[in-house]
Amino acid sequence: MDTNILVQAIISGLLMGGVYALVAVSLNLIFGVMKIINFAHGVFMMLGMYFTYWVSVFLGIHPYLSLLISMSALFVIGFLIQYGLINRIIEAPEHNQLLLTLGIALFLENLALFLWSPNFRMVKVTTLAGAMHAGDLMFSTPRVIAFGAALCMTVFLYLFLMKTSCGKAIRAISQDREGAHVIGIHRKIIYSVAFGIGAACVAAAGTMITPFFYITPTVGMVFVITAFVIVVLGGLGSFWGAFFGALIVGIAESLGEVLLSGSLKQVPIYSIFILTLLLRPKGLFGKKHV
């Protein structure tokens, strides 16, 4: 095997890992705070991609410029879904919450099929497209940008959770629901804000990949299954666990792609996943008491 191909695989895996990170970190935020497994996460990503698509088609602007629009739109959608729907069943058994988020996902996905048809679309970009070459190595420009954006976004999110009072309230509520309630944190609002932020982050992931990925109502599934694996791998509720877990999975997947063939490329990911569950059930970066 050519070393060039291996290095190329590590690079593209790392870049893809950045995109996975953004999906997984936001999924983990929702899980960490509300203990809700959000099956609608992939659908939020898809909605973010469509917002970007329509904004760039109608306004004729570069998809990156629609980032704030798709993020705010998804923040509002996420906030309302949490406020109006999920808050009602937040104390219900977990499988009921699961059914609700799955139901929301099915509804939104089919709505997208109805509104926009299952046709594949792609945002046509001319600037910041293509690839940079260093010797025989290729760095896809939009992927490098997506990776950078994912890194920035993760850092921002981290600072937000650590430094701002809203972030502190989110953390407080994730540590002790009752206690937070007692000291006057408005639980329903904070839940809704956290869910909205999660949705906005995954919308950002959607926006960042539109220059190199196709858009279709079922596109979220491509990423979100992997994101679930990452979240468990990194440790449920662990912020940096999700981030580094994503990079590990990205690299494992692309090395699997060149060393094994076809669907076997998933084998390294799931091997790591199973080993983690066996040897370190709380995840690579998980705390003892999640």
Binding site: I5, Q8, G13, F120, S140
Partner: protein
Amino acid sequence: MKKRVKREVNRREFIKGMGALGAAVTFSGFPRLAHSAEEVKFGVVEPLTGPLAPLGLSDRRGYEQAVDEINAAGGIKSLGGARLRIMLGDSEGKPEVGMAETEKHIQRGAVAVMGAFQSAVVFATTQVAEKYKTPFIVGVGVAESITQRGFKYTFRPIATDAWHIRDEYEYLAYIQKKKGVKIKTIGIFYEDTLWGQSSAKAWKKLAAEKGYSIVADLPYPHATSDVTGVISKLKAANPDVAMTVAYISDAILVTKTMKDLDFNTQAIIGMGGGHQDDAYIRTIGKLAEYVSVCENWENDLKIPGVKEANENFLKRNGVEMDCVASMCYTCVYVLKDALERAVSTDRERLRDALAKTHLKPGEKGNIQPSSIIFEEAGQNKDARTVIAQIQNGKRRSIFPPEFAASTPIWPMPKWKDRK
């Protein structure tokens, strides 16, 4: 108050009526086949709802156009101008539903049934038709084994999946002769479910027979997030020609990655699926240029009737005729031809007439690029495919040369030489 009108038939009237009817039958002969107002019904079974609905719709348009054309031109002449009537059945994309629909059509008097888009459904529906001794004309459904079961009532005018691959190699032979180039190495990359795997097997078998060497054999999972690894391996192998089968999502991603990695080769030849989809060109625009695809039909073929059928289709539906619509269209004409020769709507006679079908390309509504002559098990032994290349944002037929509207651009320009 509503006035109730009693309309009873008393015995006297009944006897009178029957007497008149009896006299009519006696004097005019039994109103069997040669009656001008007669209708000949046939059934179609297509995925009209469900995920394949858009393609089922295309099939339906093909059938309906042929029926309308035939009826407007005077129906089935040997049956006294009997009109064709289509009975629609929805398979929902499921074999068991397809079977039920086929049975329903047959019980309602269909002389023949057509369909059913998916090979899995065709497998089931042809069994029902065989049981009821009713001809089944396969519109779309390319699995080779459909016509390897020795069925007497199954007829397939189009080429099987294996023949697509045979024709790809014929195209390579043609190019080498025409352009004076040497093609030795082939890279194959394919989605790794049944479709891709069986194609790969056929590619490898024929490559060995014809003296090509497969230098890259690269399966990939469908709907994956990244194909950089696959394409970098393909690039490292540097094949003269790359052949693939891909669904549209993967075809889009692969083509973009090829550009990013600056992968150049003499030709990229897809097979049906994603590369045959207009959305492939619409979605990636210029990146799709020069990519070739092996398919059953193209709407610019130089065959009598293609232009008219395509124009009529465009007028009726607002879109150009596609490959699957053309195949269904042809099936109706195959039925018409057989009915003319059978001079009967008896299914057994119709079967015998179908078995003796001999239609040249362009003859009596056969707009396919080959003659239609069924062998024992119902496969059209002359069936062949078309190779098209995307030129100026449209698929143009380039092979076989006798029907092609355009000529191959060979080799594909390198990425850096394109605008």
